[in-house]
């Protein structure tokens, strides 16, 4: 069950943390890019390029988390939600992981693609 446990935990936390990292990085990047900042006279971040890279990495992590959650759930598919641990717990948290990972993947893609497709530094 050790492998299934590892898959379960990555499936549970991988996508949320990928989104959190993308969110913080994206917000700080766009704030830095859209002010007269003093990070350096030659420092002009290419928001679209950096966003594309960050989004791709975050989306990849979220997609891997989804696959992990599916694998964890499959390893305990014969168990019931309230069965004793570890099988019952892996089944339970596997369902949680495979439900939340697509949601975070959606936020990651919506945020990243939205930023890239919109004109930079225009006030909303």
């Amino acid at each position: 069950m050790r492998r299934a446990d590892a898959l379960m935990w990555f499936g549970l936390f991988g996508a949320p943390f990928a989104w959190a990292a993308q969110h913080v990085a994206g917000v700080m990047l766009t704030i830095a890019a859209c002010h007269d900042n003093a990070v350096g006279p030659d420092w002009r971040p290419d928001v679209d390029a950096v966003t594309a890279v960050v989004t791709a990495v975050a989306a990849l992590v979220a997609a891997l988390a989804l696959l992990s959650a599916v694998a964890a759930w499959r390893s305990a598919r014969d168990a019931d939600d309230s069965d004793p641990p570890p099988a019952g717990r892996i089944h339970f948290l596997g369902i949680v992981g495979l439900t939340i990972s697509p949601l975070f993947l959606a936020i990651i893609l919506m945020s990243g693609l939205g930023t890239i497709s919109l004109p930079g530094c225009v006030q909303s």
Partner: protein, 819 residues
Amino acid sequence: MAVLGTAGRARAERLRRVWAERHGVLGWLTTTDHKRIGLLYLFTSLAFFLAGGVEALLLRTQLVRPDNGLLSPSAYNQLFTMHGVTMIFLFVIPLSIGAFGNYLLPLMIGARDLAFPRLNAFSYWVFVAAGLFVYVSLPLGSAPDAGWFDYVPLADREFSPGPNIDFYCLGIIFVGISTTATAVNFIVTVFKLRAPGMSLNRMPLFCFAMLAVSFAIVFALPPLTVAAAFLELDRQVGTHFYDIAGGGDPVLWQHLFWIFGHPEVYIIILPAFGIATSIIPAFARRRMVAFPLVALAELLVAFIGFGVWAHHMFAVGLATVTAVYFAAASLIIVIPSAIQLFAWLTTLVTGRPQFATPLLWIVGFIVFFIVGGLSGVMFAAIPFDQQAHDTYFVVAHFHFVIFGAAVFPLIGGLYYWFPKVTGRMYREGLGKASFWLAFAGTALTFFPMHIVGLLGMPRRQYTYPPDLGWTGLNVLETVGSYVLAAGLLLVAANLAWSCIRGPASGEDPFDGATLEWAASSPPAPYNFAVIPTVTSPYPMWDERDREQDVRNAEAGRLVLDQGHVTPATTVIDGEWDEALDMPSDSPWPLAAAAALALVFTFLLTGHWTTALVFLGAAGAAAVAWHAREAAAELVTRRALPNGWWGMAVFLATEAALFGSLIGSYSYLRFTSADWPQGAIEPPSVALPLALTAVLVLSVVPMRAAEVAARRQRTRAALRWLAVAFALQAGYLAVQIVSYVDELGTFTPATNAYGSIYFSLLGAHHAHVALGLGLMAWLLVRLAGGLTEYRVTAVRAIALYWYVVGAIAVFVVATQVSPA
């Protein structure tokens, strides 16, 4: 629990003697019983609800007709601000978390108390003191008057010269201490005190909701604390965090406030979700549909809630590429809410619902949650948000959510658990009448606000001219508010009358599913005569387990009647770990809270030295409350001890606090034309890096002390602790000299760079000083030898220093970054 035999009754009687507390007023002042503290929270928060309700009625009466003169503009400003502050900080959170959480959480997980009973008492007394601190301002005519969100620059000294905003800033920092302490307590309780067998997948949904809320509090309150501290420093010391002329930025306040403010909405509403998921299965006579999805939805709402804060700021002028991150999260957060909604409805539709009073309030909640939720989705669309911003449409939206969706389940919960708490039944007819009155009153008060908002009526204005077509709708709203008040008074009358004259209810009148119904009504001081057997999330519907409890009681298994103890289990799978000796009643939490109240009072009046003296008194009270150690033998645990977990969660709060400070530094830097601002030289690099290296190195002797303590080598542990203490004290001494030296060059009042530079370093030095205080306490205790309690203390304080070391790296990187 089924009827006990002779042996079981004898054991229960022994437990009663062991867990008995003092009687009378002194008993209530020193209590650490989670049920008594829950009741104290209940009555105190209801008193604040009454105050907030009267304020709301005065506001609505003022608006009943155009050009009304019942309230002056100043009085109106104070009343709507106090209404918001009261309802959010002093009513809903203390009622839902303080009262319901305190009373029910240990009962639902089969524990005999919370993980830290004295911390729980401290939380309550701090809450009372903070509430009184804020309310003293009202008769003085100096109540907060810049709205519950207290936007700058209106709240700056220049535009609000009186003490009104100081009451606000210090008051919310003060009450935040109480809320954070409760959250730490709840997280450790849920992690460690679940009955054996209650693995995560068997935990009641109410407990998932409380866990989600507690984590949200731990991470959401530090940004608010930082925001309020910055504002108070701007007002009292002349710093420039929010002052554009000094290089600051008022939008920083909005970011910090709403990083707290939006999770706060979920902090308010998640307990309501937990109550709904308790009441619906009981009255639908079936298990909750999609149990894992509902559990995940509760946690998910709290988590994504941290990524939507700027949707409160769409009218500020953020770049669209920034706003889009928040719009995306705001749209997706609807999905977990919808998951819960469909689960509640499907459970009702596929069950055999009995629409008794508690369920009626939940149905009302669902209706209002749909209305408030749909208008909430509309605000995720940036163009609509900008049109409706600051109109009564927003007021309608959040009252449907915060009153209709958050308070209705609380009232449903009051009815549902009333028999458990009092041992008596309420009057069903009156209960239903009170629901329909409150339901009609809520709809009548808040629905017309959508229309009047779309017609352009702005929020927070004390009156309006007669020719704008708003009068009729305002009359409806005011009539509705009085109907609502009548409904709530009927609730109070019903419960008060039933408390005295209601028929006996028995242990489980609703055939509830969770463990609180296994306790007597009202529950005995020890909660359960035998620690319950758990094999599913609906333990009361597992008849064989309850029969096993009776056999266990007769045989003396899992009774734990030899002392003031409760079982501790492993975090994930709920396996037996140890029997914990729990602290008993104590006057020290009250003393510490009283000293803290004086600290805030003297901060308000500007007597900083006196405040520092009382801070020392609060520290002394904290030392006194830890004077008696838990009577535990040195054991080999399967899991980490409670004290370690308590420290870990506290450090999560600390990390969030420093995250807020470093985030503020970055924000000010990114929005500033030059950095360091003015003619300030960039900081030196060598000394801060060298000092930080020393501090980080001190974790090596800390680790060695921890290992020695766990191996019961007292002298080695003492020796390593002394080495670590010397390194840490040396670090702080040199840092303070450097800090004072730099103050000769520029000060926090020079510009925003100076403000954030000295605040960040000052907070870090305070963090180290607190650690040194803990080390001094530990060295004194260890001089008397090693006990299990002291081994746990070494492990917890070692963890503190590991995190201090990690935070120091981030702080120094931020500090030297301009160089």
